[in-house]
């Protein structure tokens, strides 16, 4: 692999390896534990919400729209940071996959804090969390930090997101 007579190749190799280390670090950050604000969080609800957020982070970071959407019910609704309304699991998967190939290519999604998690009824929890997206290509910085409310339902022993609403956090 290493060719002493190939100037371009030697320099490129260093950059390739540096890039790989950066990728590893970004992936590690993405799977970091979500912090919890204890006073607003029911531990039982948090035990349901936290693994879902971790799986969403990993699916996003892997650029896998299908795996991301698998956390949602068949009939789910998503309001994204641009105020677009995505409908159904397959619609969410398709839209996200397109974004992963475009503006969010190689981006990292990190859930930063579980701000609220509580039961509304048996088999239904409401969650508020905040997250950040690291987009190596640069924009869209104004939309990179966001807060989301989501409703999670238990159906046949599986907890999935029925409704997700996201809003960018920005100074006004």
């Amino acid at each position: 692999m290493f060719e002493f007579a190939c100037h371009e190749g030697n320099y490129a190799m260093a950059n390739i390896l540096r890039g790989a280390r950066a990728e590893e670090q970004r992936a590690k950050n993405a799977s970091a534990q979500v912090s919890v604000r204890p006073s607003e969080v029911d531990p039982a609800a948090a035990r349901i919400a936290s693994p879902i957020l971790a799986r969403l982070d990993r699916a996003w970071t892997d650029g896998d729209g299908g795996r991301f959407a698998a956390e949602f019910t068949d009939d789910a609704d998503v309001i994204n940071v641009s105020g677009e309304h995505l409908r159904t699991r397959s619609g969410i998967a398709t839209q996200l996959q397109a974004m992963f190939g475009g503006v969010f290519r190689r981006s990292i999604h990190r859930s930063r804090a579980l701000e609220m998690a509580r039961y509304l009824a048996p088999g239904v929890i409401i969650v508020v969390s905040s997250s950040v997206i690291d987009v190596p290509a640069g924009p869209p910085a104004p939309l990179a930090t966001s807060r989301q409310t989501f409703i999670v339902l238990e159906r046949e022993g599986v907890w999935q997101i029925r409704h997700w609403h996201n809003t960018p956090i920005r100074a006004r």
């Binding site: 105020g83 509304l120 009824a121 930090t145 809003t167």
Partner: protein
Amino acid sequence: MITTLSAIVLLGALQAPATPIVSSSQAEVDVRKAVQAFYDAYNAHAFDKLAEFTTEDWTHITPSGIERRGRAEVLTALKQVHSTFLKGVTDTPEEIAVRFATADVGIVTVRSRTTTFTTPDGVTHENEGRIRTFVVVKRATRWLIMQDQNTVRGAR
């Protein structure tokens, strides 16, 4: 033909979620009433009236992503911004969609449009489109808003 149709109907029934989406027309009417009352009070700037159809633990997330917890804190913040840069501003629903997570939990999506206003940073928001989620819960016999979150449509 009938057999094929029956098979399709049966297949659809088998694929239905274990916890069916509850759709009671009276519940939907009541949930819509709560949300419409919210907009009526908001547009009349009668913020104290919001207490009648919100829970005490109401959480409100603004289009800037700021979170306000508890009805008292939400009302204080609403009165503050509506006495300054949002003075006289209204928000008119264009479409209201109601779904139910369970018999006691409604999820409402509202597309709306505001009148023009200028934020303290000097940016003018001309007839901004919004999309808002309300989580409406049944407490005793009444449907009350316990959470809402608002996002600007077309934000880039």
